[in-house]
Symmetry: C2
Subunit: 336 residues, 2 copies
């Protein structure tokens, strides 16, 4: 039975464990500093498929099968498949679920979906509804950019604040028992609106959501930021991350400058790669956390990690109708 | 602690109760046979807003506030808001969550989302993560038809098998305690593909998914169809519902002809209204179940109801790329 800590936060009673992960990335991510921590780097962004959409599905499936294989499991061992992506009708997840034949619950939280999937998996395991849950998210630069902004072929100029959608997929197996990082706390975010309408500056839109959810997490758990070895935001990018640091200091008096990083910054080498403000997309926090950081935890280099995954609920339709871009952030505490 | 009954089905340990509901519909649904069972009928499909998208958000919010008001609750009493709709990036739900300021988990299960939201709410309540969860779904004929098929203004001819997206929204308050129909069993569906590519014949696409999930539910629970006073499918429409009856008889030897109906058939009067094969959309099963059937249960006219909500994971992108339309169905058992 979970313990409620305020309205947004709970601590699972039957503590779920991330027993295994799988991560795959595209060629640009494979040239970044975290290359060696991913299970597979695709050198072809179409992954040998007929379309970018099919390539994204292939990547999500590959991440899932990798996690299953490393855990010595097959799809029939898994109770539920929780997945989401950035495409309309989350088709990557739907078609992946068709291949996997695991009972499926589709999620949409934009780039916060990795954390959302861990939250729902934690509840299913805690309630005894599931012994093993497979969580997966994906994004693909060529499917997302053309759906949300412009097709790559259009060659549009991008602002320095623009982030690029990460190509890749991350999967995590959440179990009722086993070894690995444990999901000790979940803080579910509230949707907020900070007046941003610019899809080329989503880091600024999401930074206040991350600051609000982090402040709520610290208040609900009674923990100070120092409790964590690392507080990693989902995909604020370089501008958004700096803005978040200022906001948590201003609003809550928290100093996160020593132990906070951002997945959107970590995934690329800004000096060497032409990536503007960094990475974004569902896969961004998933591949960094399930790839690099998960292995650091298992190796004993990192004991307490707070993932605060951010999502811009950006819709071309609503932006064209003059609406702001609402944002959300969920925090999940992972501890060895 | 939930009891697992096979891989797809569980019986909650701490049994969640639907303590209140709210339903609103558009003008065409308001001319149908269930008119008096909805909390509000909009005579204007734009609901006084500037766009159909904003009208859909207004409808979802109205359904939510109606459920809250009838229960004597405010948004601050609610732990989590679980919502989904048919629009890209589920913007109706995202903007409703922004207004409600309730911690939000976004779902996507196409027209099966009402059942999906009850499933996740049941797990959250059962695990002790939540005392009160607000579930909501919506659809709007004028937002969905133009996104998935053709804008209404185009005046395209429609096949007899075509269903029309229901305009409306349904909300349900799921609580750890209280009076009302209890969620006694959940059967989560598997995504399947029956080779249908025609978005004007989604009933045929979804019928086998409903048949499979129903057969799985009966096998897992050991119940026969006779156990239920009514087995109601989400939105198969008249052709799809007949096909489902044949399939469950063929596959499982189950006779559902006596106690099965379909929300897509029930919501309109096929004799009097020009509705082709019936209604569809997230709101279809939500307004029929949370409006009409919920009240029948509370009034004691119906004791055991099995909702089998069906979803066609239809994407214009994947259909244009030559893919089939995958389908899913989730079953939720409601008992007084």
């Amino acid at each position: 039975m979970a313990v409620k800590l305020g309205r947004q936060t709970w601590a699972p009673g039957r503590i779920p464990v991330i027993v295994q992960t799988g991560t795959v990335v595209g060629p640009i991510e494979g040239e970044g500093p975290l290359r060696e921590w991913f299970d597979r780097v695709y050198t072809d962004p179409v992954a040998g498929e007929r379309s970018f959409e099919q390539a994204e599905k292939e990547m999500m499936l590959n991440a899932c099968y990798t996690a299953l294989h490393k855990a010595g499991k097959t799809p029939t061992d898994v109770d539920f498949f929780l997945a989401g992506d950035l495409l309309n009708q989350i088709i990557t997840s739907g078609f992946a679920a068709l291949s996997l034949q695991i009972p499926f619950l589709g999620l949409y939280g934009a780039c916060s979906t990795a954390a959302e999937s861990l939250a729902v998996a934690a509840a299913l395991v805690d309630a005894g509804c599931a012994g093993l849950v497979l969580c997966a998210v994906s994004s693909h630069n060529s499917t997302a950019e053309r759906q949300y902004r412009y097709p790559t072929e259009y060659g549009s100029f991008r602002k320095p604040t623009a982030q690029g959608t990460v190509t890749g997929a991350g999967a995590a197996l959440v179990a009722a028992e086993g070894n690995g990082p444990r999901i000790t706390h979940v803080t579910v975010g509230v949707v907020e609106d900070y007046g941003i309408k610019d899809p080329f500056n989503l880091g600024a839109a999401m930074a206040p959501a991350a600051a609000t959810t982090l402040a709520r997490h610290f208040a609900d758990t009674g923990r100070s930021p120092d409790y964590y070895d690392l507080i990693v935001t989902g995909d604020l990018g370089s501008f958004g991350h700096r803005l978040m640091l200022d906001l948590v200091a201003e609003k809550g008096g928290f100093d996160l400058t020593k132990n906070s990083q951002d997945c959107g910054v970590m995934i690329y080498d800004a000096e060497r790669q032409d990536v503007h403000a960094g990475g974004s997309g569902c896969a961004c926090s998933a591949v960094v956390v399930f790839g690099y950081l998960y292995r650091q935890m298992v190796a004993g280099n990192l004991r307490r990690l707070l993932l605060c995954a951010t999502g811009a609920l950006h819709s071309p339709t609503s932006v064209q109708q003059g609406e702001d871009i609402p944002v959300i952030a969920h925090a999940v505490s992972l501890e060895m």
